[in-house]
């Protein structure tokens, strides 16, 4: 079984909101129609977004750390929003595990948004239907795009590659490896929703260098040995310094 998901590396995210804007750009231009914006330049702007980047401060000054935290639909393996939908507009795809809303069936009762503990569903105030992250389902299967671009818009936009995209059920995929190797975790595990999106924690980046890694012990061509020191009296290239 395939379960497409995002893995978001909090150690790398710099909070630039590029994923937010590129998500909005791609999804507002799609076949489903614009994601509404009201008073975008007014005093009280509001609009529909699939993705947000939030910022948290962990610790007490001066021992603080700033965590930028992108939040979008987690495409849960046990999505609590799906069974409560009275019309079946909210559904989870069998083939790739993406949780989607059928905008033509949605009656706009908002019950699914009540049933999501993460608050990732937003009603479109103009179309009056519930909207949420689609993992760019209209992009990742588009054969007219070059293969490298068949990824969600937010993943394409991330300048630090903090967002990984792939199949978390495939143990050999890059996302599974990242979850395994870097301690990937899920949000609010207490509700048993089994989110597919994982987050990689903040970690101290350390590098340890051993001297035998700088100078190879086994070096038959003597490529890295110390060069012979020239004689004091030998002429140098500029007659001032010795090389």
């Amino acid at each position: 079984m395939t379960q497409l998901a995002l893995v978001i590396d909090l150690n790398v995210c710099v909070g630039c909101h590029a994923c937010v804007t590129s998500c909005k750009e791609w999804n507002t231009s799609g076949a489903a129609g614009a994601m509404s914006d009201d008073r975008p330049y007014g005093a009280d702007p509001t609009g529909t977004f699939f993705n947000r980047v939030q910022t948290y401060e962990v610790g007490c000054f001066p021992k603080t750390e700033t965590v930028h935290f992108p939040k979008s639909c987690l495409h849960c393996e046990e999505p609590p929003c799906v069974p409560v939908c009275p019309t079946g507009a909210s559904y989870k795809r069998k083939e790739d595990g993406i949780v989607l809303v059928d905008y033509d069936k949605c009656i706009g009762c908002k019950y699914c948004s009540w049933a999501c503990p993460y608050g990732v569903r937003e009603i479109d105030e103009h179309q009056k239907v519930m909207k949420k992250c689609t993992l760019c389902v209209d992009r990742i299967y588009d054969l007219s795009l070059p293969e490298a671009e068949r990824r969600p818009a937010c993943v394409m936009a991330c300048p630090t590659s903090a967002r990984l995209f792939g199949d978390v059920h495939d143990p050999d995929s890059a996302v599974s490896e990242a979850i395994r190797e870097s301690g990937g975790y899920q949000l609010m595990p207490e509700w048993g929703t089994k989110p597919s999106n994982h987050y990689l924690p903040r970690r101290k980046t350390q590098i340890r260098i051993h001297t035998d890694e700088l100078i190879r012990a086994d070096n038959p061509l003597k490529k890295e040995r110390q060069l012979p020191k020239p004689d004091q009296n030998e002429p140098s290239l500029d007659d001032v310094t010795s090389w």
């Binding site: 909101h17 937010v20 008073r39 009280d44 702007p45 509001t46 529909t48 977004f49 947000r52 980047v53 939030q54 910022t55 948290y56 401060e57 962990v58 610790g59 007490c60 700033t66 965590v67 935290f69 939040k71 609590p80 799906v82 069974p83 409560v84 939908c85 009275p86 019309t87 079946g88 507009a89 069936k105 949605c106 009656i107 706009g108 009762c109 908002k110 019950y111 948004s113 009540w114 049933a115 999501c116 503990p117 993460y118 608050g119 937003e122 009603i123 105030e125 179309q127 009056k128 239907v129 975790y185 899920q186 949000l187 609010m188 595990p189 207490e190 509700w191 987050y199 924690p201 903040r202």
Partner: protein, 326 residues
């Protein structure tokens, strides 16, 4: 949660309609076994169930204001296997239809006898329809309450007390209305309905108070730590990702000061329980119609406040992500 008036009116209005129907049918069954005087004319039951039907229609109409696409409402019967909302959408019209038939049978007087129970208990069509209606009525209480009680992370709602409260509070207001209605149409039933209205209102006070106590002692399962997955005692939000409002900041918080919430709590305890109990007590001793009507109106207003508080008190875990604008 942000209390939506469409849902407040839906749940309180159909509660009155359901309770009134239960009261009427209980009266009919009691008079069948000669506990209560028989109503010779069907007018009392026909008029009463027509009144119940009016409340149900008003509730259904209010519910449409909650929908973004009311013209697609018919689709919501599709997922009855998993969704309590879908089940409610099926049970409510079925119940309304049954109440209509029950009213029609009493109004037209066409009430064929279907069987005779035991030696002398005639089982006629209205009794069968009433029994079906009672089952549907109880099912509707369960469906309506389970819409809220099934959401496990809304801990204030996720309790059997929610179902009990919907059942008792709806029935209490319905029996109070039945008492007020019978003053004018069947005076020999007034004491029966008035007494039961008091009993159910008192039971409702006990269970609603129990849920208030339970909710006051709740410990939220989700914290900011589990919400973003950082294990540190000190985590503070510095930015929520936008400066203006959004659906997330509007839909999941009542936006009122805590003081108002607290006063609404005392207001509904007075309005939905204490005042109606006093008024019903006064009404039963004087049998004045105005007392019964006042009891019902106070109780209904109190229940509106109760439902507002029910929604406002529920604290959605998504609010953890929206603690600071920037």
């Amino acid at each position: 949660m942000h209390p939506a008036f469409s849902v407040i009116f839906l749940t309180t209005l159909i509660g009155v309609g359901q309770g009134l129907f239960l009261a009427l049918y209980t009266g009919q069954v009691y008079s069948l076994i000669h506990v209560l005087p028989t109503q010779a004319e069907g007018g009392f039951y026909a008029g009463g169930s027509a009144l119940a039907l009016l409340f149900l229609i008003a509730g259904l109409a209010a519910s449409f204001f909650h929908l973004g696409h009311p013209e697609r409402a018919w689709r919501s019967a599709a997922k009855w296997r998993t969704s309590w909302l879908s089940r409610e959408v099926i049970v409510l019209p079925s119940f309304m239809g049954t109440v209509f038939l029950y009213a029609a049978v009493h109004y037209t007087g066409w009430n064929p006898q279907i069987a005779i129970l035991g030696e002398s208990l005639p089982l006629d069509l209205s009794l069968v329809l009433g029994a079906v209606g009672t089952v549907l009525c109880l099912a509707l209480f369960v469906c309506t309450a389970m819409i809220y009680a099934c959401l496990k992370f809304l801990q204030e709602w996720h309790s059997p007390l929610t179902v009990v409260n919907y059942l008792l509070l709806g029935s209490a207001s319905g029996f109070t209305l039945a008492a007020a209605f019978s003053v004018y149409s069947a005076p020999d039933m007034v004491r029966f309905y008035g007494t039961w209205a008091m009993i159910i209102t008192f039971a409702g006070l006990l269970t609603r108070a129990a849920s208030l106590v339970r909710n006051a002692r709740l410990k939220p399962k989700s914290t900011l730590q589990t919400a973003i997955g950082v294990r540190h005692v000190q985590v503070a939000q510095k930015a929520q990702g936008f400066m203006g409002g959004s659906f997330n900041t509007r839909e999941f918080f009542h936006g009122k000061p805590v003081r108002l919430l607290r006063s609404v709590k005392w207001l509904f305890l007075l309005g939905a329980f204490v005042m109606p109990l006093l008024l019903l007590g006064g009404a039963l001793s004087s049998l004045a119609g105005a007392f019964f009507s006042a009891a019902f109106l106070t109780q209904y207003a109190g229940l509106l406040a109760e439902r507002w508080f029910f929604f406002a008190q529920a604290n959605h875990p998504q609010n953890l992500y929206y603690q600071a604008i920037s």
